[in-house]
Symmetry: C2
Subunit: 368 residues, 2 copies
């Protein structure tokens, strides 16, 4: 009868981790039985299983992950590959997605390997992870049209999930919101309310999410029989900093503009003071609508300024990314797309049209 020891004391005394062999020796059983007992196989006696789990807990045994990974050809690691652009990590949108992913990863027992690469070493970095077997799959963020990462990953057959979509999205797993549909509806709403010159303060259109939003407002104007220049485009490459301020100033400088759609509440916030003090347009205050990614600390309903918005949780999207990857890797399910739901909130006075009827049949199911 050995006295119970603090697991960390065992670790320190041994100078190495407790292995399955230690357990086998301790209990006079084979390592096969230990393994099968701990992994819940039915060919282990209930009494034996109890002895094994007790001893494992007492000695603080945790299976060596590298041995498991080697033999099972599964790592329970996900790679999250980012361009080595420090600005990225300062983007609250990214942080929000990551927070959601980390929470779900914990639940599903995955680890996220975060890594950065030099601007011109994108594919080689993915290739390294594919070939050295250190991850089960990849998260691809901010896809571009004809994204090389997608091309590469489809080629290798490795599991991956894209946050966003591009033209081949029916062939891989993705998580996205309805960028096109949402912005189409916001655009039609403003048009229905009489606005004839509207600013879109958009994100970087090298990325599809922003491109699709642009396409949506353009189509909305066209479908309403309005001229091409109904929407005036302003692009920001990063939501932090003063882009929101300077672009808001530019938009307000055009006295014909009576409404602004923001692609992120961060851009709106940065132009907040300008909006609050902007003189009326044609007798009405400037109309403001925004994408609301449900970022913490940034709730559009708590602003003094009345803002219409469409809300979709980036946090949920992060969680869904890991869930989809787990479905592919753990359950062998085929890749599938997950649409994160969106909720509209339209301020009184703008609410003159049903937002559900503004996406015409020929625009349905468009991704961008």
């Amino acid at each position: 009868m050995e006295k119970p020891r603090k697991p960390s004391a065992v670790l320190a005394a041994l100078g190495r981790s407790v292995t399955i062999k230690d357990l086998a020796a301790e209990l006079g059983l084979s390592i096969t039985t230990i393994s099968r007992a701990l992994n819940g196989y039915s060919d282990v006696g209930e009494k034996t299983r109890r002895r094994v789990t007790d001893a494992a807990a007492r000695l603080g045994y945790h299976p060596n992950r590298n041995a498991q990974r080697l033999v099972m050809q599964r790592t329970h690691n996900v790679a999250w590959v980012q361009t080595d652009n420090e600005l990225k990590y300062l983007d609250p949108h990214f942080a929000e997605v990551m927070a959601g992913a980390l929470g779900q990863a914990r639940v599903l027992n995955y680890d996220i390997v975060l890594t950065s690469h030099a601007i011109d070493r994108e594919i080689p970095t993915y290739d390294r992870y594919v070939r050295d077997n250190s991850v089960d799959g990849f998260i691809v963020d901010l896809p571009r049209e004809n994204d090389e990462r997608v091309t590469y990953l489809m080629d290798t057959g490795r599991a991956f999930v894209v946050h966003g979509r591009e033209r081949r999205c029916d062939r891989y797993g993705w998580v996205d919101m309805d960028n096109y549909g949402n912005f189409y509806r916001l655009a039609r709403l403003l048009i229905a309310n009489g606005h004839r010159r509207i600013a879109l303060i958009n994100g970087d259109e090298h990325f599809n999410y922003a491109l699709y939003r642009h396409n949506a407002v353009r189509d909305a104007a066209q479908d309403a029989g309005l001229p091409e220049d109904t929407f005036v485009l302003f692009n920001s490459s990063h939501p932090m900093g003063d882009a929101g301020f300077t672009l808001t100033a530019s938009a307000l400088a055009d006295r014909e503009i009576t409404a602004i759609i923001y692609s992120s509440i961060l851009l709106l916030m940065s132009g907040y003071e300008l909006l609050m003090t902007a003189p009326d347009r044609k007798g009405r205050p400037i109309a403001v609508a925004t994408m609301d990614d449900n970022l913490r600390h940034l709730d559009p309903t708590r602003l003094a300024l009345r803002v219409s918005f469409v809300r979709s949780s980036l946090h949920d999207a992060g969680a869904a990314l890991i869930a989809e990857l787990s479905r592919q890797c753990d359950e062998g399910r085929p890749p599938s797309g997950t649409m994160i739901p969106s909720v509209f909130q339209i301020i009184p006075g703008l609410d003159r049209t049903s937002i559900d009827e503004t996406l015409p049949v020929h625009r349905r199911n468009r991704i961008g």
Copy 2:
């Protein structure tokens, strides 16, 4: 003579990764020779080595990391464990440190395993990584006094590096700036310029960096023979959101206060408008000093408001964390502390005292 194939084609055709056995078979050599050729041992002929490296490149061979990790007992993985508090990932300070760490990790061929845990599962999470051998070491961020994580990690003997210090810092590796010294000097500077009631808008004093800053201004007042209430404390738990605004408003409401020290430029920015429009104090504009972590997009020299600051790069700190861990794990060096340098910039008119002479001998080398 086989024709050259695209590495990914080989991968797809094989249905599995290229292994060292494949290389051995291809070249008619033993796996020992392949291994030793690729790892630069001298007992391999130059011609043979060339053949091996060529074949490896041609077939896109990368050693299976899990096999390497198992046999070498080294993972080249670092765990970055965070409380599952989504707010954390929205903190630009954290993002900045992480960006620096990721850059250095790439250089030193490490991967960062980012993970979150429920609030009450901190130590078990560390324990899991220690016991399952999935990482070489840990980064510990935002230490508290008598931090349990440090206690636990010192106990196990696993490598770790702390970003910040606590009382046992001579026994482990750390990276830090001189919180105490810097804030002592800022405090003495303001005192020397005649301020007798000064606000410190500080971070969360559950964390040592903020506690040490508090201690520093308190000591500075004491050393100057001023009363305890010379410094008025305001604490914020998170630098985003409206804390900077509300705390600035509170500070300005005290008409005796003639100067404010901010613990972060983010807090300052959030109170920026209030500062710009604040009425003079005793005939002079309110004096403002801040910590400048060299965050991107937030350069205090570009503000309309003249601000004294002490700058220390969080990005560099992040890089130093990984460098220190590599020194311990790869070179077997004993743990050591790295002080990230700080630079003062004092606005004209406040610069009436030499900032270098304000830290008295009996305060030297204080960590807090």
